[in-house]
């Protein structure tokens, strides 16, 4: 199997999250800036000395247990108001749990090179995601400059009214929990496709 040696280098995520943390400081979003600043520091340490924070063991959760956890979390999100202490507590617990499920170190010496198909896919997804981010950025800057969310609606402004309704929260919770479960349970593909 061909591959490229894994060399210690600063992950692009460090730069990305550093920029996001700075952006949130500029926005005046204190908690958001702390979240991304902590993530930046963790990733920087991981890039330089992965063994400091490493664990070889992957924490796996039984599917039934995961389902029960997700259902309980969804019930809290739907039945309690937004910004409530139970919602915050459940989010923190899920975040910590997801962290431990994802923080295993595969200790590979070689990582398979991207195939042509994967490179094509990355280019396509980068274009789509960059376009979305540009639209969101334009909306945010327009709203900030003009003081009008109505003329320059960000995604949050558009979705906010639906989150005040239990059905809106239920729909979001279902998608968010499903996405999180997929992220913590997907098996990393070590061989080339």
């Amino acid at each position: 199997m061909s591959g490229i040696p894994i060399r210690r280098r600063v992950s692009p995520w460090v730069v990305l999250f550093g920029v996001i943390a700075t952006w949130h400081v500029w926005r005046g979003a204190g908690v958001d800036s702390v979240i991304f600043a902590v993530a930046t520091v963790l990733l920087a340490v991981e890039s330089i000395r992965p063994d400091w924070l490493g664990t070889r063991h992957r924490v796996r959760v039984n599917g039934r247990v995961g389902l029960v956890v997700c259902l309980l979390a969804a019930a809290v999100f739907v039945l309690t108001p937004r910004y409530s202490p139970p919602t915050i507590a459940v989010l923190v617990v899920l975040g910590v749990g997801a962290f431990f499920m994802a923080w295993y170190h595969m200790h590979q010496r070689y990582r398979p090179q991207l195939t042509r198909l994967q490179r094509n896919a990355i280019h396509v997804w980068l274009i789509v995601v960059t376009f979305l981010l540009l639209v969101e950025f334009a909306a945010y800057m327009g709203a900030t400059a003009s003081g009008s969310d109505e003329r320059f609606p960000t995604i949050t402004v558009l979705l906010d009214p639906s989150f005040d309704h239990p059905w809106g929260r239920a729909l979001f919770a279902a998608g968010w929990l499903l996405g999180g479960w997929a992220l913590v349970t997907v098996s990393p593909r070590v061989d080339a496709p």
Binding site: L91, A98, Y104, M106, W125, L132, V135, L158, W176
Partner: protein, 67 residues
């Protein structure tokens, strides 16, 4: 056409683009890797796993807990 209309069209085009990118990965396997295949490859590195989870978690925080 107002700026609101333009922005809404931008969001709509983004959603369509996301759907088409996902569909292309499934319908044209000789041209593009599927989203699942790409995700599995990316999740080999801990930094990417962690980065994606931070983004995921922050979305939940932002919409459910952050006033």
């Amino acid at each position: 056409m107002s700026t609101r209309d333009l922005i809404l069209i931008g969001y709509a085009l983004s959603l369509i683009g996301i759907f088409l990118a996902w569909l292309a990965g499934r319908r044209m396997p000789h041209r593009l890797a599927s989203a699942g295949n790409l995700l599995a490859h990316m999740m080999q590195t801990r930094s990417t796993r962690f980065g994606l989870l931070v983004v995921w978690w922050w979305l939940g925080w932002h919409y459910l807990a952050s006033d």
